[in-house]
């Protein structure tokens, strides 16, 4: 056997390729792209999102698609069942329910989203300050929040609506939103405070602090962006609560000022004609409210699961 055929100089050491070793072979996925990827796999949450988008678009376009104005009364055509001319029928004043239903959806969504955003604003401020403040101020602020939170939500909402609205003619949008946010901000404040207390102990907060950053800067640049996930979930779940509260108010006769419709006042009008055998008038706003609540709830749940993979079962 000829072993001499392979000599040492015939071999060459493979050079370590620094470039290939460090190269990232898969595209980088940002945190939010990853969340979106996980959310997309959740069929229920995506159903909710699609329904919400459809309802949202219809709440903008719906009133214009119908050829009847939402205020226009036609006394010859009262309590018509849904038909070719009036897609959702007419109410007891002969008004077109199609444009009224979608306009009502618009106002309900507007109230819900505005209330959620205001809760979010107050919650971030209050919770952020409490979390960053001295333990003593924090304790005082949290006691106050606790007292506010123990006041039954609906009682306050009703009380505010009663006081700031004229008898019989309903409540203005501003008052409705005020009523819902006056105690509604507490859960958000609690959430933000909890996040702040946890995140301010992290190394990046410490690093920022040692570089001379102010508390406000750390809060704005490090803590809030990093707790955005749970905050977003909370906002998503606050919207249906506000819409539900508005619908309940509308049902009690404290809804939006006439002739403006909201889903709650439409349902209330529908209830009034139910004893004479007309059911579609309460059915339509009921379905819309239920779909909105369903969509926000499943979307919020889906977001929570997508943001925290550990929770996924």
């Amino acid at each position: 056997m000829d072993h001499t055929a392979y000599t040492k100089d015939m071999f060459e050491k493979v050079k370590r390729d620094e470039y290939h070793a460090d190269r990232i072979t898969r595209p980088t996925i940002s945190y939010w792209a990853d969340v979106w990827r996980r959310l997309k796999m959740n069929k229920l949450a995506m159903t909710g999102l699609v329904i919400l988008i459809i309802i949202f678009i219809m709440s903008i376009l719906g009133p214009y698609i119908s050829k009847f104005d939402y205020r226009e009364q036609d006394w010859d055509k009262i309590n018509l069942r849904p038909n070719k001319e009036y897609w959702f029928g007419t109410d007891e004043l002969g008004r077109d329910l199609f444009s009224r239903a979608w306009l009502g959806t618009r106002y309900s969504l507007l109230i819900g989203v505005a209330a959620a955003l205001i809760d979010f604003g107050i919650g971030i401020l209050y919770g952020g300050i409490a979390g960053m403040a001295s333990p003593r101020l924090d304790a005082i602020m949290m006691r106050i929040a606790e007292v506010v939170y123990s006041i039954p939500y609906m009682l306050v909402v009703v009380l505010i609506s009663v006081v700031f609205s004229d008898a019989g003619s309903g409540t203005s949008m501003f008052v409705l939103i005020l009523a819902m946010t006056i105690t509604g901000w507490v859960p958000m404040a609690n959430l933000v405070r909890g996040q702040v207390l946890a995140l301010k102990e992290y190394e990046y907060s410490l690093a920022s602090e040692s570089l001379g950053a102010s508390k406000g800067w750390i809060l704005r640049k490090h803590i809030i962006p990093n707790s955005f996930g749970p905050i977003l979930v909370n906002v998503t779940l606050t919207v249906p609560r506000a819409i539900f509260a508005e619908a309940t108010l509308g049902f009690m006769g404290l809804g939006l000022q006439v002739p403006k419709p909201s889903l709650g006042t439409l349902a209330n009008d529908g209830l009034a004609v139910m004893p004479i055998g007309i059911f579609y008038q309460i059915l339509i706003p009921s379905i819309l409210i239920s779909f909105i609540m369903f969509s926000f709830n499943v979307l919020g749940d889906g977001l929570r699961d997508a943001l925290d993979p550990r929770l996924r079962q």
Partner: protein, 310 residues
């Protein structure tokens, strides 16, 4: 433990005081006076007498102290619109009705909600899980007034022995209780499912199983007893949310409860009645939350253990 309970009682008292003060300030910041809302004109001397009768001629600070004193004696004054009836009488008439409805609804929710959640967790990702989660999603999404009116339309008007409205017998209470119960039932089921899943993954469940205890005993004694704690912890808030539901349910089913009076008093601007009912409800609810919180610390084995350790 005693310290915690005392602290909770103090907090409850402060909260009730806050509610009373907020109610007072809000009601007295209403523009105009409560008797002028009707279209008819009231003669000067009668108006003066009316103002005197309700103490509205005194300075605000004096009225406030009077109001606090009266509430301390559980006297909510006289209704401004319901002739010659005191708010106390109205509460005494309406509250038992509302309370019965609320208690029945909570019992239904507490029996079926956690059971549904526990079954869902035990059969995770199988048919029972999906079915109970569909029920609970519907329960969370469909407001009680929608459910109530559907019940009236499809059940009460079809089935003879279930009346559409009214009050007095047990059969009157069936549909409203169920309509009121579905929302808390769904919340309990969702919460129970997630906490049950967490508990089932714990080591002590494994220990219990490896000791050879039957599956039934493991579930009943080890899993459910621990998993039910989060449900108990939200019970107070749930009861408080039930009140809003009862307002509309009572309206739909024509039940002569406190919610009915509250809704009409809101509509009539009957300020003493609104104030009285609000403060009364707030007191009841805050007392309930206090009870639930104290009960929670008593049934949570972990809290009990730390107490014995000291």
């Amino acid at each position: 433990m005693a310290k915690y309970i005392l602290k909770r009682i103090a907090l409850a008292i402060v909260t009730i005081w806050a509610v009373i003060t907020i109610t007072f300030v809000l009601m007295h910041s209403v523009p105009g006076n409560p008797f002028a809302t009707e279209n008819r004109k009231i003669p000067e001397n009668i108006m003066e007498n009316l103002m005197k009768k309700y103490g509205l001629d005194k300075p605000k600070s004096e009225q406030y102290i009077m109001y606090l004193k009266n509430i301390a004696r559980f006297d909510f004054g006289e209704s401004m619109k319901q002739d010659s009836e005191t708010v106390n009488q109205i509460i005494a008439r309406g509250f038992p009705v509302s309370a019965r409805l609320g208690v029945q609804a909570i019992i239904i929710a507490l029996i079926f909600g956690p059971a549904l959640g526990a079954i869902a967790a035990l059969y995770q990702n199988k048919a029972p899980d999906y079915i109970s989660m569909i029920i609970s999603i519907i329960g969370v999404s469909v407001p009680s007034f929608v459910l109530g009116s559907f019940f009236v339309q499809f059940i009460a008007s079809k089935v003879d022995w279930i009346p559409i409205s009214g009050w007095g017998e047990f059969r009157h209470t069936i549909l409203p209780s169920i309509a009121l119960a579905l929302m808390p039932l769904a919340q309990f089921a969702r919460l129970m499912r997630s906490s049950m899943l967490e508990v089932l993954g714990q080591d002590y469940i494994k220990t219990a199983k490896s000791k050879g205890i039957s599956r039934f005993a493991v579930i009943m004694k080890h899993a459910i007893r621990n998993a039910i704690l989060p449900v108990v912890s939200i019970l107070g808030t749930t009861i408080s949310n039930l009140v809003a539901g009862s307002f509309v349910i009572e309206k739909i089913f024509g039940i002569p409860g406190l919610g009915q009076f509250f809704t009409t008093s809101v509509f009539n601007r009957d300020y003493t009645l609104i104030m009285g009912v609000t403060v009364f409800y707030a007191m009841v609810l805050i007392a309930m939350m206090l009870l639930v919180d104290v009960a929670y610390t008593l049934i949570d084995p972990r809290i009990r253990l730390t107490k014995e350790g000291h």
